[in-house]
């Protein structure tokens, strides 16, 4: 059996980090949302209710990205796994899990609509601006958002493993300088109206593509960083 697949199986020897905990977070955060809605006074329940609790799992994936590298990479080295196999196996496994969760989100969105917003006229999964798109775009958007958060965690952990705190500091300052540079560019060219229009015009699909490109950048950066990292 291929060592990449074995890495995925190794990551799943303990079922909690990749499967158990995300499920628990999803169920718990959703039930808590329902609980909060149920406690709202009647006056506050008029109209539509919105909840961001669907994000909870996504933020956990940020932590999972950090964890799957920090704890498992040094062990994978002892298992005589190349960095490349570790990288492909871990990212491949997460991609599969993210796809599963994205489809689940889409299906829960359908249930949400069918049950009149879980009986509260609420929105957790079928957030209006996303759910007005077709199934493929919705799933793509969730997938890209999850992978992006995972990759941020994974890359940051790789930078830390290779260059320790100074590496994170440089990366953080570099990112801030980049953002500042873009803000300066827009300001100096009086381009804010165009920037605003660009964002406004960007549909969920466009946003997914932009975020997806970020994912690819982070994935490439992670691999190059990991190539020379030592446990």
């Amino acid at each position: 059996m291929n060592r990449v697949v074995k890495v995925a199986r190794m990551q799943l020897i303990n079922k909690w980090p990749f499967l158990g905990i995300p499920m628990v977070i999803l169920v718990a955060s959703t039930l808590m949302t329902f609980g909060i809605w149920a406690l709202l006074p009647a006056s506050a329940r008029e109209g539509e209710l919105y909840s961001g609790s669907g994000q909870a799992v996504m933020w956990y994936f940020l932590a999972l990205g950090i964890q799957s590298l920090t704890y498992t990479f040094p062990f994978s080295q002892a298992m005589s796994v190349s960095r490349r196999s570790f990288y492909l196996g871990t990212l491949g496994l997460f991609a599969a899990i993210a796809l599963g969760f994205s489809i689940l989100y889409y299906l829960l969105g359908l249930v949400e609509k069918a049950t009149g917003g879980w009986g509260f006229n609420g929105q957790v999964f079928a957030l209006g601006w996303i759910s007005q798109n077709n199934a493929a775009i919705q799933i793509l958007f969730y997938f890209v958002a999850m992978v992006l958060l995972f990759m941020i965690g994974f890359w940051a952990a790789t930078v830390y493993m290779r260059w320790k705190a100074s590496g994170l500091l440089v990366a953080g300052i570099g990112f801030a300088v980049l953002v500042l540079g873009m803000v300066a560019l827009a300001t100096l060219n009086d381009a804010w109206p165009q920037v605003g229009a660009w964002f406004a015009a960007m549909q969920v699909l466009g946003l997914s593509i932009v975020l997806g490109m970020l994912c690819v950048l982070l994935a490439g950066g992670s691999y190059l960083t990991l190539r020379r990292a030592t446990a």
Binding site: R3, K6, N14, F75, A78, S80, R227
Partner: protein
């Protein structure tokens, strides 16, 4: 012996430079397959750096490492033949020894579950407890069990005994020799406790400050020096002309370690004038070698002289 295949481990002019120090400084070695090697040296001598580059976990600044003729770095098919558990090995958070062994069984083709279970029993290892809650000795046992049960063609142990009590260490040495006899492989063992593992070793490599001081067959090494004990004057006349490695004296009695391979005539002569000749423990030889190499800048001379 015909060189039918590449050596199990070949190191060519290996250097590793960290920001502030040379961890390895032109190391060259050729280790044959199916022997037990001892990699000995002081703390910070470069043992772990060398081992982790051998295992493809670290990478050199210069030079080359070949395992059965191939560079192990990022090379899965070569890596699959190697097992190296670090002395400070980290395990996934919340993993139990049972889960770590399950992972090892996935990756090491020759994994022997029966041997693993026997060792678990020998070491009294609680396999369902989380690894981060284990004692230092139990943590070492996890690494030792993976290293032995993996039966990798090239097995590298870095100070495997840390925290293990005397009984557990003896179990490790005994099982290692037993299993090695049934399933020969190339084993590299780094250690401070030289006397404890002296009988295991077939070949000794001593490293100091990133350079190889000694690379010698263990038996040849054991015969390369002798301690001469007796009356001070008689000892002095007997050892004249030999290189002195160490000198102890008490009153008129002296005990001097010399570098010499004495023949039958010389031994008879020593007996005649009432001098006692005794073998020098491996540990003494390694310590003396290291110390005399530090006294003179070029360790190579000493190694040449030993031959």
């Amino acid at each position: 012996m015909a060189p039918t295949s590449a050596p199990a481990i070949e190191v060519r002019n290996l250097t590793k430079t960290y920001r502030d120090a040379n961890a390895l400084d032109g190391v060259s070695l050729a280790l044959e397959e199916n022997r037990i090697y001892g990699l000995l040296g002081r703390n910070g001598a470069g043992k772990t750096t060398l081992m982790s580059i051998l295992a493809g976990q670290g990478y050199p600044t210069g030079g080359q490492v070949l395992i059965h003729g191939r560079n192990p770095y990022e090379n899965d098919s070569t890596l699959a033949r190697i097992c190296f558990i670090r002395e400070s090995q980290r395990y996934p958070d919340d993993f139990s020894p049972h889960q770590a062994f399950k992972a090892a069984a996935l990756f090491f083709a020759n994994w022997d579950q029966e041997l693993a279970e026997r060792l678990i029993e020998d070491f009294n290892l609680p396999t369902r407890r989380r690894i981060k809650k284990l004692s230092r000795g139990q943590l070492s046992a996890v690494g030792v069990i993976i290293g032995m049960a993996a039966r990798a063609e090239v097995t590298v142990f870095d100070e495997p005994y840390l925290g293990l009590d005397a009984v557990a260490r003896q179990i490790f040495y005994d099982r290692l020799v037993e299993d090695y006899a049934l399933h020969p492989r190339t084993i590299v063992l780094s250690s401070h406790l030289i006397d404890e593992i002296a009988n295991l070793l077939e070949h000794v490599v001593v490293i100091d400050k990133g350079r190889i001081l000694l690379d010698e067959d263990a038996d040849t090494l054991r015969g390369s020096a002798v301690a001469v004990t007796g009356n001070q004057d008689k000892v002095a006349s007997f050892i004249d002309g030999y290189r002195v490695l160490h000198r102890d004296s008490l009153g008129s009695l002296a005990s001097v370690t010399i570098q010499a391979r004495l023949g039958a005539t010389q031994r008879a002569m020593a007996a005649e004038i009432g001098l006692e000749l005794s073998p020098v423990p491996l540990q003494q030889l390694v310590v003396r070698t290291t110390m005399s190499a530090q006294a003179e800048p070029h360790g190579d001379h000493y190694q040449e002289a030993l031959k």
